[in-house]
Amino acid sequence: MKKHVNEEPPHIHMGSSKNELMLKTFLMMSVIAVASVMVLGLGAFIHILIALGTVLIIHCSIHSFQIWKGMEPTYASPASPMVAGMIVGLSMPIAAPFEITAAVAALTILAFKYGQGKYFKRKYLNPAAASKSVLLLLLSLKTLREGMLLHPHHLDLNLATAEGLQSSMWIFGRETLPFIGTNLSPAQSLFLWQTHGWIGGASSLVVLVVGSIAAYWLKFKWRIIVSTLVSMTILAAGFGVYLGGDPVLRIAFHVFTGSVIFLAFFMATEPQSTPMTNTGQYAFGFSLAVLTFGLQLFNVLGGSIIALVILNIFTDRFDKMVLKKPYGHKGVKG
């Protein structure tokens, strides 16, 4: 080392690390996982375990290989892969076959976590969303080959009308809140206790509470969450009024399905694939809501995931939108 000036400032650090951030994120998601298992039972637990296990096995193999070859390990600790595994587990529909969960988890860690980082220097696409999109694409090709435009589960849905929405909601309208024994309406069920859809969205209330704490504690990109959920609510309310029917049910459906609420907190805020600027984040959240809402109206399977992946591609564009005005550029105040 040179004798003279060696280091630029600063010489102290706040003390936090990427690893710590990941572990805390994992911890927060674990709370959601516990709630989901309570609502959905053993099946949810197995999905989460498969996702986590798959990701960890692949990560440990790559890590050991890298160490063996004398390479710098891509992830020094398993914290970040664990978060990816947990996201996969929580973003799987409860009805999905277990092998599909394993496939999504494998694709996530291999192609979109390790692969993206290595070949594109940074993650442009949300790993879990991208791998789910790939599988959705394969599924859609299969249904298309079978002459169906939409997935068979969604063929009968017609969410663009009041009646269509009402009649599709039977799936959420059969829950009874345990311990209390109250029968839940579809809207209540969507908010409190849903046994259909994403594992992570089994209780929107839990996601809202835990997600808000995590967003505050871990400084998630909260503007994305706020603008997604607010835009979605406004869109749903507006369409509810325009199309008629129960506006509360429409809001509950468009905001509180797991694919929206869980995604808004834990996937749409994934740091690497989302915008950095304030306006960019608001615009990103708004676009995510509009795109997801549109795809939901057309009954497209995995609408929010597709919307997220599409918007991830334009993240750098969002960053070029209006920037905050720096100090001294705002004119004289007060």
Binding site: M1, K2, K3, H4, V5, N6, E7, E8, P9, P10, H11, I12, H13, M14, G15, S16, S17, K18, E20, L21, G117, R122, K219, K221, P271, Q272, T274, M276, T277, D319, L323, K324, K325, P326, Y327, G328, H329, K330, G331, V332, K333, G334
Partner: protein
């Protein structure tokens, strides 16, 4: 040394300053004049001085040994009585270049060359005196004080006693030990500025330094408590906090009728005006893990080695030294580095003290750095633009507005030292313009 993790948006960063708690109670230890004083010609922002003495010449304490023509200049003075041993280029710890220094070997009985007394009711004479005394911004900026005092159209004078850096406490100690002198210095500066309103901005709590507060009140000086968050000590940010207005881009506080000076600078003005002493000594906060913080009064030109010796610290134990603030100061390994007019702190780290930015990970785009930036720019995007040498983006991102407070690096979970990109970005933009 750990730091707390509260942070709010827009630079209101509540940094843990527990390392300096109680240190303001420690009196200044007067350090012996150095055996050899290394007087750099460049100890201010502006044109570099030329030596006024020759090798072998005898100089007195307080004698001017370097000066230059032009407005942005302030002379430098010998801090000891002795013989000019050498005039040579040595490594400057701040400019990071070889710079001319006069080396004076202390010899014989100390003799002082005082500044000639001036009429302290004459604004122009005060400003001239401040220049002749070599007074510069002692908070670390080293901006020539007489230039600030000569600004026209100033109606508010802010005395910055914020001292927000986690390792510095010497300003507060000075406020405890020298309240009367500080008030006298402030009044002289206010006279030079010809202002009606003077604000004393301090992080101390009401009743903490009652004597100073009483004198301020008697002298018609407003005392304002400022939030103890880091980086608001920057003069532009202090103006926003106290006055509710911003200094427009490319301008300085006097352009909006405000002048800001550090409290230690006010004391240096007092010493020049009432004791006839140029700026040849000052206070500093000294820190090692061993000793905690001590307040020292040293002569400029004292080397790190001599100061450490004076503190009975074994030099071999230490690996590197930080001059000034831990957030903004530069590190050196060279124990012959002299302390300057604007050196407000010296921290000695052993090898064991980990370098927090040694292992930098990839940027995860978490945006922490952007959210704490007190001037509302985007350090993460600037880093990217700098790496890609994208001058257009650097311009759009206003890298020139960065005040180099280093909060962005401090909070980065990937431990990226963004400083180098901010410096580089400024350079690239400057070269392109």
């Amino acid at each position: 040394m750990t730091n707390h993790k509260y942070f709010f948006e827009k630079g209101g960063f509540k940094m843990d300053i527990s390392m300096k708690h109680g240190a303001e109670k420690k009196s200044f230890r007067i350090m012996k004049p150095p055996k050899k004083a290394i007087i750099f010609m460049q100890q201010h922002i502006g044109t570099c001085n030329e030596p006024l003495v020759k090798k072998g010449e005898r100089v007195l304490t307080g004698q001017k040994v370097g000066d230059a023509k032009g407005t942005m200049t302030v002379p430098v003075h010998s801090s000891v009585t002795g013989i000019v041993e050498d005039i040579t280029k040595i490594y400057h710890p701040v400019s990071n270049r070889m710079e001319t220094a006069v080396i004076v070997k202390r010899e014989g009985k100390e003799e002082m060359e005082s500044l000639p007394p001036v009429d302290l009711n004459d604004r122009k004479k005060i400003i001239e005196l401040v220049r002749e005394a070599g007074v510069v911004g002692m908070g670390g900026a080293a901006f020539p004080t007489h230039i600030k005092l000569a600004s026209e159209g100033v109606n508010t004078f802010i005395v910055n006693a914020k001292e927000s850096d986690p390792n510095l406490v010497c300003d507060v100690r000075l406020m405890i030990e020298k309240p009367e002198e500080i008030v006298k210095g402030i009044k002289l500066m206010a006279k030079a500025l010809d202002v009606k309103r003077t604000i004393f901005a301090t992080r101390t709590q009401e009743g903490e330094i009652p004597e100073l507060e009483r004198m301020m009140k008697a002298g018609g000086i407003e005392v304002r408590r400022v939030t103890p968050s880091y980086s608001v000590g920057s003069e532009k940010l202090l103006v926003r906090e106290l006055m509710g207005k911003e200094v427009p881009c490319g301008k300085f506080p006097p352009d909006i009728g405000v002048a800001v000076n550090n409290v230690s600078t006010a004391y240096a003005v007092y010493r020049a005006a009432y004791l006839g002493e140029p700026l040849i000594s000052r206070g500093l906060s000294f820190y090692t893990q061993n000793t905690g913080i001590d307040n020292l009064w040293f002569r400029t030109g004292t080397t790190v080695k001599e100061l450490m010796g004076g503190m009975d610290e074994k030099i071999s134990r230490y690996d590197r030294y930080i001059l000034g603030s831990l957030m903004m100061g530069w590190a050196t390994k060279d124990i012959q580095t002299p302390l300057l007019k604007y050196t407000s702190g010296l921290t000695a780290f052993t090898k064991k003290y980990a370098r927090p930015y040694e292992k930098q990970l990839k940027c995860i785009r978490c945006g922490y750095c952007d959210s704490v930036c007190p001037v509302d720019i985007y350090p993460s995007l600037i880093m990217k633009a700098d790496r890609e040498s994208d001058v257009k983006a650097l311009k759009r991102l206003h890298v020139e507005d960065c005040i180099l407070c280093n909060l962005c690096s401090f909070v980065c979970p990937s431990h990226i030292r963004l400083t180098e990109h901010l410096f580089d970005g400024k350079d690239k933009l400057g070269n392109a313009d």
